[in-house]
Structure formats: C-alpha cells, structure tokens
C-alpha cells in the first residue's frame, strides 16, 4: 500500500470538496431559479467535464497553467513556483473536473424546494439571504451532501487529468489512482490489488451513502 499516495488522494479530495462546495451551491441555486435565456449554455459548460476526454481537458489545463500562460506566470510571481506539476495545480484541475458532480445535485435539490416555498418565505418577511439560510439550504442539504460525496469519491479515482496536469511526483501529485497504474507497470500486482480494493470500497461506500442521502427527505418524520 502506498500510504503517501493515499494521504495525498485524501487531502486532494478534502480540499476539492471544501473549495468546490460553496461556489457549487451558489451556482446550483442560481441555475435552479433563473429564467435567463443563456441558462442552457451555462448548464452545458457545467456538464462539459463529464463528456470531454480527460486527456483533452488535461491538455487545455496544462496549457492554461504552463509557465508561458498568463495564469502560470501570475501564479509563479505570487508563489515563486509553477502551477503545473504541483499540488495546487492538480487541486485546480480536480475542482474543474468535479464541477458537474457538485453542481448538478445541488441544482436538482434547489429545484425541488420549489417556488411556492420561496414565495412563502418572502411573504413571511424573510429577506432573500434569510430565506436561503433558513428555508432553502436545510431543504437542499441532502442533495448538496450527495454532490460532496460524489465529488470526493470521484477525486480519489481521477486519473487522466491528474496525470496530464501533475505528472506523478511522489508526495506532490502522485495520487492513489496513479500509484495503482505505477504498480501495475512494475508488475507489483499485490500492491495494485490492495490499493484497488481500497478505492473500490471507498467508491461503493460513497455511492451507497449517496443513495441513502437521496432517500432522506426533510419533510418526513419528526
């Protein structure tokens, strides 16, 4: 078992969820209520990471983060090191790749809250912010948690984009999924098997948790 890779993967998953969740909640909520005519375009952009080959996404991200790109140059000026082939680089890539996993469940959850409850909150005198905090967020929480779990599990298993953007630098960008590939290349099937079993268990637990959360309805029971 490559414990260093496991720790890195868990750290990557955790940071991805922490940084992705707040904007995903806001974007999901906006998509749920807006009648703006450009909404389908934004929804298409959100889903894009799901349909793009990871290598294509990875290539564009690598180009965007490279030392000659504006983003790469700005990052180097600010932090004294390049963004590509670093933990912040794969974190940025991971956040982008996981946008659909976090945003879509949040959007569906806010859609399920319904306009009537938003209207009822307003006629109770709740400001939009109070309505969001007291009514919408608690009701959408199961959907938001589902998105968080999916994003976390997907981050642990992400391979192509992380490899393109981060390479496989031990302790910096070599995640568990990359370590499995590395072990198979080295014909170390025992290590690959134990790490694969761990990822399988985590993924299965995450999906089971997702189903459990999707059945949880705040309007049922005491």
């Amino acid at each position: 078992m490559d414990w260093q890779a496991l720790a890195l993967s868990l750290r990557l998953g955790l940071f991805t969820v922490l940084l992705l969740l707040p904007p995903a909640i806001l974007l999901g909520r906006w998509l749920a209520v807006t009648s703006w005519r450009g909404k389908p375009f934004i929804e298409a952009l959100v889903v894009l990471p799901l349909v793009l080959p990871p290598t294509v996404l990875g290539f564009y991200l690598l180009a965007a983060m490279g030392p000659h790109s504006p983003v790469g140059q700005l990052w180097t000026q600010l932090f004294g090191q390049g963004l590509a082939f670093s933990f912040p680089g794969i974190l940025a890539a991971s956040i982008l790749v996981n946008i659909p996993f976090a945003v879509q469940p949040a959007q569906r959850a806010f859609e399920a809250v319904g306009q009537d409850l938003r209207h009822a909150a307003a006629t109770c005198g709740l400001s939009p912010l109070a309505s969001f905090r007291q009514i919408e967020l608690p009701l959408a929480a199961p959907g938001i948690l589902t998105g968080a779990v999916l994003a976390f599990a997907h981050t642990l298993g992400e391979f192509g984009v992380v490899l393109m953007v981060g390479g496989a630098i031990p302790g910096e960008t070599k995640t568990l999924a990359l370590s499995i590939y590395d072990r198979v290349q080295a014909l170390d099937n025992a290590a690959a098997a134990s790490m694969s079993a761990l990822l399988l268990a985590i993924s299965l637990t995450a999906v089971a948790l997702t189903f459990a959360l999707s059945r949880k309805r705040p309007n049922v029971g005491a």
């Binding site: 409850l117 909150a121 307003a122 006629t123 009514i135 005491a222």
Partner: protein
Amino acid sequence: MSGLDLALRATTPVPLDLALTVAPGEILALIGRSGAGKSSILKAIAGLLPGGSGHIRVNGESWFDSDAGIRLSPHRRRLGYLFQNYALFPHKTALENVMAAAPDETAARRLLAAVQLGDLKNRRPAQLSGGQQQRVALARALAREPRLLLLDEPFSAVDRPTRRALAQTIRDLRASLDMPVILVTHDIEDAAHLADRIAILEAGRIVQCGPTAEVIARPASELVRDLVA
C-alpha cells in the same frame, strides 16, 4: 386612504387590467374561472410577479408605483398570504412555521392556540392533516401583524367539514382583523359565507363588482350568472 388601493396592468404571465379598493376589515372575494388571473392578482400585490405597471397602496404606503419607480421587495410588503397548497416549510414544526413570520415565540404560540393547534405545535406538516396544515398556514399568514391578508383558494384542498371549520375560524378572527382581506375562490358558497363584496374576474379584468348579495341576485352577464349559480 386607508385600506388597499390598486390599479394594475400587466401582459405576462397572464394579462391583467383592473383597479380596485378594499377597506380595512372588508373581505373582497375574487371569483373567476381557471386562468382568469385571480391568483396572479394576489402574487402581483405580494410583489411575486415581475413587470407590470400601475400602483399598489396599502394604508397610504406605496408598495408599487411604476410611474414613481417604486417597487418594494416582497419581504418588505407587510402582508399575510395563505397559499393554495399552504406552502408550509416541511422541515419546520408548526410552531417554527408560525415563528418564521411572528415577531416572537409568544405571539406564535398565541396564534397557534387561536386556530386550536396549541397541542400540535411540535408536529411537522407531514404529521398534520390537511385541515390542520391549513390552520397552521392561516396562523402563519396572521403572524406578521399584516396590513393586508391574501387568501388564495384556502378551501380548495379540504373536505366540507374542514372547510366549514376554517370558514368559522376566519369569521371568528374577523372581528379582530382590522385589515383588508382578499379571498380568491372559485366557489360562490365560500364567497357568500365570508365576503362583503364580490369581484368577478375574466381574462384579468373585473366584469362585475358589488356587494355579495347584489352580485348573486343581479348578475350582469351570462358569465357572472354561470359563476354565481
């Protein structure tokens, strides 16, 4: 003037072109066929519909005035709104639902007691019957000490005994409700029991308006006759 004074013109989502006044303590029933614009008028008064022109004044306070560029946010319009499907917050108890609009817990408890639900204050909407949910919604609509009360088909989703009980509750509360009340209904019986005046609505326009008994006794058109029959 005190009470409600409104003139509204809108083209979407349904066409509206009407003017009406409702005095404090008066109940005006809006009656019309499906799609006539009854609920849209209530939503427009509450600020829940975008666009439109005209004015809405309550006790002299301007909530909406397209000429003056005034459009108060929905949460700043001090009104009580009883929604057709009650729109209770499903994750909150009956008491918490009322507290969402009440100034304090004591006021919320008093209102729940007034609608005979003091014993069920800790139940969530899913644990209440349709009639009980309706009462919680009425208590919540009154909790904000509103300047105007809007009742959108309050009797549509309950059986006859529950209807009678709620109508009685509204009648009982009426003595202390010194505010204009607009009742949207498609049932002339409900209007006849509760309303002082009836306004018949068709395609967003008022086609007849007058004291309840007079409108029922002297319908001005075939449409009104059908609706009050």
